[in-house]
């Protein structure tokens, strides 16, 4: 990036550090922070959506739907996250390829599973064998997003279910007395009032999600943990910028990032809770009423 970085062996001190921190690999490292934030931005609404569906299914009067909702919640919460990640990602990958294989290559005569190999026809590979490296990263990322959304969706479903049950029955009865249909009661009374009960659980889940993003590393996505390990390990002179073991500093940077992310989240969620507590019959709402807001 700087002109004097063309020959790293001639610079030292702060200039060397400036050159070192602006190598291509370091820019990949900075980009991986964006990848992590992108993962959070995409997964959170998806997980919330899955949680909503799971909670509604669990409360449904239709028995199979209720079973589906309860099983989803119980199963995903009952299996350790890492096991779920390692198993589900491969299952999703192979499942989609198998499905595509059935559609696109109906006349493929060789078995898909040969010994320990999983071979589908080349047209059914996701991403296609000719796609460039970027699509492989996107594919890995999207599989991670789906898996995260599924796992955290189950936890969110539990929280939202509890919140929905916590809305005072008197509120719903009053709405029904006004002649609102079941859907109208749900949309106009239950959901708006449910949020204040759901927020402590959901904000907890959000912080856990932030801290769970290193699982991306397990899935082979090049996230911040991957780069911290890669950049921090001691480097011999075959590299342009040899250095001893600096993993301590890199992991310190990661720690600062995570602390900052959770601190900002706590502040924002605190404000949201205050806003949603206005007029509610909760302790926070009562405190606000007494304070005259």
């Amino acid at each position: 990036m700087f002109a004097y970085c063309a020959d790293p062996s001639t610079v030292d001190g702060l200039s060397w550090l400036a050159c070192y921190l602006t190598t291509g690999k370091h820019f990949d490292f900075y980009w991986s922070f964006v990848v992590v934030l992108l993962l959070l931005a995409i997964t959170a609404p998806l997980a919330l959506g899955m949680g909503f569906l799971g909670a509604m299914a669990s409360r449904s009067p239709v028995l199979p739907l209720r079973w589906l909702g309860r099983t989803y919640t119980a199963m995903v919460r009952g299996v350790p996250d890492i096991v779920f990640f390692l198993f589900f990602v491969i299952a999703l990958d192979q499942g989609l390829e198998w499905l595509l294989h059935q559609i696109v290559c109906p006349d493929w005569d060789q078995p898909i599973r040969q010994g320990t190999e999983f071979r589908v026809c080349p047209e059914a590979k996701i991403p296609s064998g000719n796609a460039n490296a970027f699509w492989y990263q996107v594919d890995g990322f999207m599989r991670a997003v789906v898996t995260f959304a599924l796992v955290f969706g189950a936890f969110a479903a539990n929280v939202i279910y509890g919140a929905m049950q916590a809305v005072p029955r008197s509120q719903l009865e009053t709405a029904e007395a006004y002649g609102m249909s079941h859907r109208q009661v749900f949309r106009r009374v239950l959901v708006p009032q449910m949020w204040v009960f759901a927020l402590p659980g959901l904000s907890n889940l959000w912080v856990i999600l932030i801290k769970a993003t290193p699982l991306l590393f397990l899935l082979g996505v090049q996230d911040i943990v991957y780069y911290a390990r890669e950049l921090g390990g001691s480097k011999t002179s075959i590299y342009e910028y040899p250095h001893p073991d600096w993993r301590l500093w890199y992991f310190l940077a990661l720690m600062v990032f995570y602390l900052l992310a959770t601190y900002v989240s706590e502040k924002v969620l605190g404000r949201l809770t205050t806003r949603l507590s206005r007029g509610q019959a909760t302790a926070a709402g009562e405190a606000m009423r007494k304070a005259g807001t």
Binding site: T23, G24, K25, F27, D28, I90, D93, Q94, L96, E97, L99, L100, I103, V104, Q114, G115, T116, E117, F118, R119, V120, P122, E123, A124, K125, I126, S128, G129, N130, A131, N132, A133, Y136, G220, R229, E230, G233, S234, T236, S237, I238, Y239, E240, Y241, P242, D245, R247
Partner: protein
């Protein structure tokens, strides 16, 4: 769901009709001088040059990708890439599940590296990388094995005293010992393990193996392979 399936099918068909099939080469990226990720973020090292040359000679379009060492064989089986080119030693155990090409590095020594030369490698704590031939060797000896996921963690374990010595490929350890200003020393004992380094491929990919074998043979015949070995592993390296 149907629309999504249809869209992906159309996309996949479209891209496959466009060009010949690309061969994906999977490497570890953490094992200099065989393969590493240079400061520009690209795969580099002996195997990068070798792989590019082999693909040229076999008239294949090749793409590079990296994968962690301990899932490198399962991901080959799942089809994430087509060739493992990661300093993988040819052993009978691995031959059972994957196919190897001809070796492109002759059988080399594995060696120990420690903080002092008087470590007893038969009874101490020896660090090695998971799923390597060296780890298997230490596990079968009477020493205590300490396994790590990546090669530089095994060396870091020796530096901070967790392990008495590290057991790995001599070509990987020698430059580290040389640049450590005397902090790390190579021990006298060396052990030959395996039948050299080769390309790993799926057992069903016999055509690909034939292409790569032919390319490796042509590189051996005209001396370019030996020249490449000397360039990356030094004048004293074992050549064909």
């Amino acid at each position: 769901m149907k629309k999504l399936l249809l869209a992906t099918a159309v996309l996949a068909l479209g891209t496959s009709l466009a060009t010949a099939q690309t061969v994906r080469l999977g490497t570890e990226g953490a094992f200099p001088p065989y393969n590493f990720i240079n400061d520009k973020g690209e795969v580099d090292g002996f195997e990068r040059k070798l792989g590019d040359e082999l693909c040229k000679r076999a008239s294949l379009t090749c793409e590079w990708t990296t994968n962690e060492w301990d899932s490198i064989i399962p991901n080959l089986q799942s089809g994430n890439y087509d060739v493992i080119i990661a300093g993988m030693t040819i052993t009978d155990e691995r031959e059972k599940i994957i196919n190897f090409s001809e070796n492109y590095i002759p059988p080399t020594m594995s060696a120990y590296m420690a903080l002092t030369p008087d470590v007893d490698v038969k009874t101490g704590v020896i660090s090695a990388q998971i799923a390597t031939t060296q780890a298997g060797y230490v596990a079968e000896s009477s020493a205590t094995l300490l396994e790590f996921a990546s090669p530089d963690e095994t060396v870091a374990a020796v530096r901070n005293g967790e392990a008495d010595a590290v057991f790995a490929d001599k070509d990987y350890l020698a430059p580290i010992a040389a640049e450590s200003n005397g902090a790390l020393v190579m021990l006298a004992e060396e052990v030959p393990i395996g039948d050299g380094v080769g390309l790993g491929m799926r057992e069903s990919d016999t055509e690909l193996k034939a292409k790569f074998d032919a390319a490796i043979q042509s590189m051996k015949a005209d001396g370019t392979l030996n020249a490449l070995i000397v360039e990356y592993f030094g004048e004293t390296a074992v050549t064909f």
